[in-house]
């Protein structure tokens, strides 16, 4: 009975995609290089966290590097200066990333559109310059946070994170669990509320929702998972790079998300995979690879206006509903300027 009430489109299909993606990621390191696969997992989580805000709540943050970078430095500093364990360091990353998101949210989440984007970018750049110069003694300035001892996991069992495969599967498990948690959140009453806000903020308020509070919580969740991705990035690299805080990182994650499809759940991860793979291949053979990557991305965005996954999904739905419906998906305006 309960099942019959649900609209058809929402039953099952999304669940299967998520599990399929997780399966694909198990074999990923055996198909492409392990470092590349690890990076795809980490940035995939970052993109999902970012898209929780952009694609699901309809809020554009142009300073997401702040949460990622703070997570990255917090993890590295906890290990290097306090000798903290991997788990403790990641917890510190998450706590600081969420706290920063809460502060930014309290100050700025009421601002809409480009105003919020600008404020978040300013905050991001503030942290970049803090790490670059005033806090150089602790952050290592331009060189990034170096001299992190060789990493190993001691609980629940010993894992040497210095070797590629164990590291990959350590990252895989954490990212995989995070993906399932984000999926769960997005399908909860709260997640549905976020989508309503994205679709029509005024109507959502008129239905009696405290939209400001919902957007605030969404930003904190996003900061939480972005910082977790940042922490993993430090563990993967063995040092905390300064560019994790740079605005270009915010731009890249936006580009990857749009490339994959911001109105789909798994799209951002696909965008990350395509972006990093292409970048990896091109930079091997051509010195000025950015130029070619730029051209390729412009064409990809033109071929897939709703992102790779978004466009494929729309085509599939169109074919399915060919017989009855007069017009299918509306224009999604996922167009963007792209530069490598």
């Amino acid at each position: 009975m309960k099942n019959d009430l649900r609209p058809k489109v929402q039953r099952g299909a999304g669940n299967r995609t998520v599990w399929l993606a997780l399966l694909v990621c198990i074999v990923l390191p055996f198909v492409i290089s392990i470092p590349l696969a690890t990076e795809i997992m980490i940035f995939g989580l970052f993109a999902l966290a970012f898209n929780l805000l952009l694609g699901y709540t309809g809020v554009l943050s142009f300073g997401h590097a702040a949460y990622f970078g703070v997570g990255s430095y917090a993890c590295g500093m906890a290990i290097r200066y306090a000798g903290a364990s991997i788990w403790t360091s990641l917890l510190i990353s998450i706590a600081l990333g969420s706290l920063l998101a809460a502060i930014v949210g309290a100050l700025a989440i009421k601002k809409r559109g480009v105003y919020f984007a600008m404020i978040s970018m300013a905050v991001g750049q503030m942290f970049y310059f803090l790490a670059l110069s005033p806090l150089k003694r602790w952050t290592g300035g331009e060189d990034g946070l170096k001299f992190i001892p060789r990493l190993k996991l001691e609980f629940p069992f010993f894992v040497d994170l210095g070797s590629p495969y164990p590291l990959y599967f350590f990252v895989y498990i954490i990212v995989g669990i995070s993906i399932l948690v984000i999926w769960r959140i997005l399908n909860s009453p709260f997640g549905r509320l976020l989508q309503a806000i994205r679709e029509n903020e005024e109507r959502t308020i008129a239905s009696g929702y405290n939209v400001t509070m919902a957007k605030f919580v969404s930003l904190v969740f996003s900061g939480f998972f972005s910082a977790l991705a940042g922490g993993l990035f430090t563990i993967y690299l063995g040092y905390g790079p300064l560019h994790s805080l740079y605005w270009l990182t915010s731009g890249t994650i936006l580009l990857m998300t749009i490339l994959g499809g911001m109105h789909t759940f798994i799209g951002p991860v696909v965008g990350v995979a395509v972006f990093l793979y292409v970048q990896n291949q091109f930079s091997r053979y051509i010195e000025r690879w950015e130029l070619l990557v730029g051209i390729l991305f412009i064409s990809l965005v033109l071929i897939f206006p709703d992102g790779i996954v978004g466009t494929i999904k729309n085509k599939y739905l169109e074919r399915k509903a060919d017989d009855t419906s007069p017009e299918t998906e509306p224009e999604l305006n996922a167009k963007t300027e792209t530069e490598g």
Partner: protein, 249 residues
């Protein structure tokens, strides 16, 4: 008194959009507001539903002062509005449009349970879709509905919040004459069946005269006249300002 405004004013700079309006609605009433363009009808609505704070004056609902409440809080005390220009959730299914609004009466800061598993909300949604005659289109995206259906959907979204007072801002705007007749019937039906109190802004005089218990005419932010549809259509001032010149009654 169910709803009452006292000396309600809203100024935009030097413009007196709503000017010292005293206004009452009784429980179970279907009351219409008419008036020429720019008379302040929509502004008045937006004051009632909390979209704008009034410049001065008071709004009382069920004996409580709700003047300073925000739009979402006013929705929670039981006043819900539909918009003149349809406000639905375009890329969500028709079902989800109504479901998400019905969900607002429960705790929505639940991050873990599956939204589709709240059977009470689902059943309520089915019931609402039945009432606004959209059951057969529940899986469609709202953006693919015709204009008339979208207006119905908007009424459905408003109904799903269990309003005590429903504010309808030009519910038949843009509808064909045939659609208008059906919409009128629907509004009347809903009122009778659910015993709703409804306040309506409308331009179509046929609609107003047919379904209202009482009509108020606004002009330049002020109440020009108030009375039964019969009284209003025979009122000389209203005829001059709004109905296009004197007429025999």
């Amino acid at each position: 008194m169910y709803l009452e405004t006292k000396n309600l004013c809203k100024y935009f700079g030097g413009l007196k959009a709503v000017d010292r309006v005293d206004f009452q609605v009784r429980e179970g009433q279907l009351k219409s507001i008419i008036g020429p363009n720019g008379a302040g009808k929509t502004t008045f609505f937006n004051l009632l539903c909390g979209l704008y704070p009034p410049t001065s004056g008071k709004i009382h609902f069920l004996g409580n002062d709700i003047t300073d409440k925000k739009m979402n809080q006013i929705s929670q005390v039981g006043i819900t509005k539909t918009f003149q220009i349809t406000h639905v959730f375009p890329r969500l299914s028709v079902f989800e449009n109504v479901r998400i609004s019905a969900q607002s009466r429960k705790s929505s800061f639940n991050f873990w349970k599956k939204a589709d598993d709240f059977s009470e909300i689902n059943e309520r949604t089915v019931e609402i879709l039945e009432q606004v005659k959209l059951s057969d289109r529940k899986d469609r995206l709202a953006s693919t509905l015709s204009h008339g259906d979208r207006k119905y959907l908007e009424i459905g979204i408003a109904l799903s919040t269990n309003p005590k007072l429903l504010l309808l801002d030009e519910p038949t705007a843009g509808m064909s004459p045939a659609e208008t007749v059906l919409a009128m019937k629907l509004i009347r039906d809903l009122r009778d069946r659910l015993n709703l109190t409804i306040l309506l802004v409308e331009h179509d005089m046929n609609v107003v005269m047919n379904i209202s218990d009482e009509v108020v005419c606004l002009n330049e932010g002020q109440v020009l006249a108030c009375g039964s549809p019969q009284e209003i259509s025979c009122n000389e001032v209203v005829q001059r300002v709004y109905l296009g010149g004197p007429k025999e009654c």
